[in-house]
Each structure stands twice: as C-alpha cells, then as structure tokens.
C-alpha cells in the first residue's frame, strides 16, 4: 500500500509542476494547451545540461530556460499577435517534439545520454516516522519543491496584489487596464512563467525519474496536467489533488498487471484519459472558466 501511494506521488510530481504553470497561464487568460511542449523542452534541456556540465543544478536551470523559451514563443504568438490559443498551444507541442528529436540526434548522435537520476533526499528526523516517513519525507528534491510550489502559488494568487491583478486579467482585463496595470504584460509574464515551471516538470521526468531523454517522453502528460488543473478548478491544491488521482490511476496499472488481474493493459492505459473525460463531463456546466480566457486583447 505504501509502495502504491509512493508510486502515485512519484507519477504525480511532474504533472503538479505542469498544472501549476498552467494555472498561472489560464488565470491570466491564456489557454495552456502548450504544456506538453513546455514540459518536453524542459525535459530535454535538463538532461542536456546535466550531461554537458555534469551537474543537476545546471540541468534544472536549463530546464527553466528551455520551458521559458517555449512559453515566450507561445506568449508572443497568442498575446502579441492575438492568434488562437488552442491551435498555438498544439503547434508549440509539435514544434517541441520536432525540435527536441532533431537536436538530440544532432547534438548526441547515436550516443546514449545517461545522467544519474536525482536520488531520494530524506528529511532528517521526519523520515523516521513510521508509514508517513517513507511516504512523505523520503522523496527526491523536486517533489518537495512541487509541494512548496503549490503553497507559493496559492499565496501569490490569493494573498498578494499581483495575484489579484493576475486573476482579474483572466476575468476582466479592461478593469485591470483601468486600474492602472498592463494586462498584456501580465499575460506575457504569466505565460513565460508557465513555460518555466512546466519545464521543471519535464526535468522531474527526465532528471529525477529516469536519468535520460527519449523522443516524446512526456507522452501526453501535459494534456493530463491540463485536465487536472480544470478538474482542480484553477486552484493549486485542487489541481495537485487531481494530479494525485491520475498518478494513482497509473500506479494501479502496474499493480493490476502484477496481480494477474485479467484486464488488458491497453484498457488500463486508457484509464487516465477516460477518467479525465468522465470527470470533465461530470463537472460539465458547473466548470467556470476564467471569463476572458482565450480572448485576445
């Protein structure tokens, strides 16, 4: 059981980062369909950085920059050039897939890029609590950072002037303009930060979990993060909870197979997507998108 929950947390971590970034972007009024591409750029940059410099910290910095660069691209096309959010996000995902595959071949050739994955970082004292210790306090460093990120984003959104302005930009940008702030700049910054944070999520995948980069390794996780932030109603803790549900669904996949339950693995793999559709459909009319989302200024 502890193994199962630990696996759920492990699988949820990259999703949480992407969802946090997505909340920033969507609260500011830009659909975050590009999360997948931002994560992929982050995952690629992290491994390349850690490989070239031999340091995980450099990898993480590059992940933030790589994801942020993708965020900047999306921000320019959607906010400045007023293009359709959805199609731009989709394009960003494809561009990231092509770019990382191409650069991996060009930079690494046929060399296998392996880096040491970030190990668990038990918190002294707390890690020795039975049950909770191994589960919550013996996680790798980025998992703690994800929890801290939830707290930080909650504080930013609901307790600061900037957060108020950001939320208002997604609801009624004209009012923000009248109040003396620049909604365009807020959106640009929010989308760039979204990319940077989602890039960290990609780094969790490549640097913390497997220690290498493979083509298209995000495999739809950006879209699951997008679904979880909607299910979590654009609230950091809510989104994190939804990510845990998806993590649990995927963790269950391995359990079911090892218990020999006669359910095709393909059906089990469909579960996260079916759950996402079912939950979104269940929320249905009660979901309240930020009012001005997807509307160009």
């Amino acid at each position: 059981m502890i193994d199962f929950l630990a696996a759920a947390i492990r699988i949820a971590t990259p999703l949480v980062f992407a969802a946090l970034g997505g909340i920033l972007s969507e609260r500011a009024g830009v659909f975050a369909v590009g999360l997948e591409g931002m994560m992929l750029m982050g995952a690629f940059a992290a491994v390349m950085g850690a490989w070239a410099a031999g340091s995980a910290v450099v990898g993480l910095l590059l992940a933030v920059l790589g994801g942020g660069a993708m965020g900047l691209t999306v921000a320019i096309v959607t906010v400045r050039c007023r293009a359709d959010n959805m199609v731009t996000g989709l394009t960003a995902n494809i561009l990231a897939l092509g770019l990382t595959t191409y650069l991996l071949h060009v930079l690494a050739g046929s060399v296998a890029i392996d880096v040491t994955p970030l190990g668990a970082l038990p918190i002294p004292g707390l890690a020795r609590i039975p049950v909770l210790g191994p589960l919550l306090f013996s996680q790798p460093p980025l998992t703690y950072l994800a929890v801290a990120g939830c707290a930080a984003l909650s504080f930013l959104l609901y307790r600061t002037q900037t957060g108020l302005m950001l939320r208002a930009t997604g609801e009624n940008p004209e009012a923000v303009f009248v109040a003396g702030a620049n909604p365009l700049r807020l959106r640009m910054v929010a989308v760039i930060c979204c990319g940077a944070i989602a890039g960290l999520g990609g780094a969790v995948l490549s640097l913390q979990q497997v220690g290498t980069f493979t083509d298209g390794m995000t495999g739809g996780r950006g879209y699951l993060a997008l679904a979880s932030l909607i299910v979590g109603r654009w609230n950091p803790w809510g989104a994190a909870a939804a990510c845990l549900v998806f993590g649990a669904a995927e963790a269950l996949e391995f359990r079911l197979q090892s218990f020999g339950i006669p359910l095709s693995s393909y059906v089990v793999q469909m579960m996260p997507y079916l759950i996402a559709i079912a939950v979104l459909a269940g929320l249905g009319r009660s979901t309240k998108l930020p009012a001005a989302i997807g509307k160009p200024l």
Partner: protein, 349 residues
C-alpha cells in the same frame, strides 16, 4: 480590448482569418520557416543547399517518388478538408488522429468480417465502414462537447489517446494476427486493395481526396448548410438570430470531418499498408490542422496545402537517407510554419 457589449460567446468562438492578401502572407510564412530550417541544417553541420536539393530530388526525382508523395498526401487531404470545414464553423476539431485510427479499425473489421470471397464490393463496404467509424468517434466528441459543455479541443484531444490504445487493444485481440511479433492485423486479400494508377505507385486515395475537397468547397459556398456554417463561424449570436441551430451546425461539421478522416484511415489501410498496424495514424491530427490553415480554411485550397506537406515529408525522408540530416527536421519546419501562419493570418474576433 475585446468588445464586452457583445455576448461573450461571439468573441470566444470563431477562428477568423485576415483575408486581405492571405496567399502572400502564407507564402511569406513558408519562406520564413524555410530560412529557419536552413539555419537548423547548418547547425547540424550540413550545407542547407545540398540538403534542400536532396529533399526536392527525393520527392520529385522519379515517377515512383511522385507516387510516394501522392500516397502520403491522401490522408492529410481527406482529414484536412474536414478540419477546415470545422474551423469555418468555429469548431476546433483536433481529433483527426483518433478519427483516422477508428477509420482504420472500421475498414479492417469490415474486411475480416466479410462473408464469402472478398471482391471490389468488399473494398467499397470497407471504405463506408471506415467513414462510419470515423464519424462515430467525432460524434462521441460532439455529444460530450455539446451535452456536457466540455471544450471540444480537450475532448477530441483526450479521445485521440483512447483511440490509439483502442487500435492496440483490438490488434492484440480480435483484429490481430497471432504470432506476428508486431501488433498488426492479418494482410488484406489483394481483391480489396485500392485501385492503383497503372504504371505509377500511387493508389486512388488521392482521387477520393480531391473529389472530397472539391465537394466540401461546393458544400461550403453553394448550399444553405454551408451558409449556416459560415455565419456560425463568424458570429454565434448572428447565427442564432438568423434561426440557424449552432448545435446542428456543430453536429454537421463534426460528423462530416469525422467521416472524411475515417475515410483517410481506410484509404491508408486498403491502399498503402494493406493491413492495420499499430500507431499508423499518430501525428495525422496535427498535419490535418496544418494543411487546413495552410489552405486558408478553404477546402479546395487544402489540395495544394496537403501536397506541400506530402512533398516536404517525402523529401525529408530522402534527405535523411542520402545525407544524414535527421528527418525530424520536417516536424520542426511544420511547427515553425504554423506559428508564422498563425501570427500572420489568424485573428480572433
């Protein structure tokens, strides 16, 4: 600033094009992305001119290569024309991956379940089955979208993943070939293969695609339904005022697009692979969106747009074989072209 006096839906929906000088804008976008591509080739340590020459020769160098290009173009054309129609109505359907996958399933299941010896009738039935399955998949998305107010982009996207897994599930079960080592169906009997143009490598899928695109163009510009589609895409309140049913238009464009994409899947199975294979439709959804926007959301103009993407991809594979520039470059070119086209032409209301 958006116009808050109008109903919010008027500005939330409706992908619009700036139509003044649109073909020049699209050409400029293609040109700029080629410059970016040349830079990337240079990064890889190759001469961009040699690379592009290899691309052109690889795509147009022989009748065989031209046939390869036309085969590659067929599913993009079929799916892209449908996506263009959806976008015209302000419905963003990015589910062509899944709809094409379902089309492949429909065609394969029809052939495998066909009683008696397979004939040309079987092939026609299989294509109809493909179109019906594709329409079924887009219909599910539409039902969830309209019934439960889930954004159509999210539903079609999530259903893509489900459809790809469904292909794998069926190939590991009733549609699969036992002991093949790969997830694939048994080979199709020769009688159901699509007719091939004598002397050339290409099959009749491209002809079906051209007919479909021209039919859609007529549908869009010469029929009451097409008018309703265009009005709905421009302004939903105006469409409602004129008495058009937004839900009806959404159903119409989604089912049409799903059926065409499904047909594209059937054409791939019956014309090209001669069997259903795992992951055969991955990435087609994005190509469909690319060609729809390259073709300025005009179904007839999707024909040259799909040809362009087909040329690019066939050429890129040849380039990889001949001089070793990774063919993933073409995905980058497509992505950059799309971003330039979006910045240059698309503007929301």
């Amino acid at each position: 600033m958006s116009d808050s006096a109008v109903s919010p839906r008027a500005s939330r929906y409706g992908l619009r094009l700036r139509t003044d000088g649109i073909f020049l804008r699209i050409l400029a976008a293609i040109g700029l992305s080629m410059v970016c591509a040349a830079l990337l080739v240079a990064v890889a340590g190759h001469n961009p001119l040699t690379a592009f020459q290899a691309m052109v020769m690889g795509a147009l160098g022989s009748p065989y290569q031209i046939g390869v290009v036309l085969n590659r173009t067929s599913p993009y054309l079929l799916a892209g024309a449908g996506v263009a129609l959806c976008f015209r109505a302000g419905v963003i359907n990015i589910g062509a991956d899944g709809q094409i996958a379902l089309g492949g399933i429909g065609a394969t299941a029809t052939v495998l379940a066909w009683p008696g010896p397979p004939t040309a009738i079987t092939a026609i039935a299989a294509l109809i089955g493909a179109a019906l399955c594709g329409a079924l998949w887009s219909g599910i998305a539409t039902a969830i979208n309209l019934g439960r107010r889930v954004n159509e982009v999210l539903v079609t996207l999530l259903l893509n993943f489900v459809a790809l897994l469904l292909v794998q599930l069926l190939l590991s079960g009733p549609l699969g070939q036992r002991g093949a080592g790969f997830l694939q169906s048994p080979p199709m009997p020769r009688a159901v293969w699509l007719w091939r143009v004598p002397g050339f490598y290409f099959h009749s899928g491209i002809l079906i695609g051209v007919i479909a695109a021209i039919t859609l163009s007529v549908l869009l510009w010469k029929t009451p339904f097409g008018f309703a589609v265009r009005v709905t895409g421009r302004s939903r309140p105006a469409a409602a005022y004129a008495g058009f049913s937004v839900a009806g238009v959404t159903w119409g464009v989604m089912l049409t697009a799903g059926a065409l994409a499904g047909l594209g899947g059937g054409v791939e199975v019956l014309g090209l692979h001669h069997r259903l294979i795992e992951g055969f439709s991955t990435g087609f959804g994005f190509k469909a969106v690319t060609v729809a926007l390259l073709g300025a959301l005009e179904p007839a103009a999707v024909i040259p747009a799909a040809l362009f993407v087909g040329l690019l991809e066939t050429g890129a594979l040849a380039m990889q074989r001949q001089i070793g520039v990774p063919s993933a470059l073409v995905v980058v070119i497509e992505g950059i072209t799309m971003l330039f086209i979006l910045t240059a032409t698309v503007r929301r209301a």
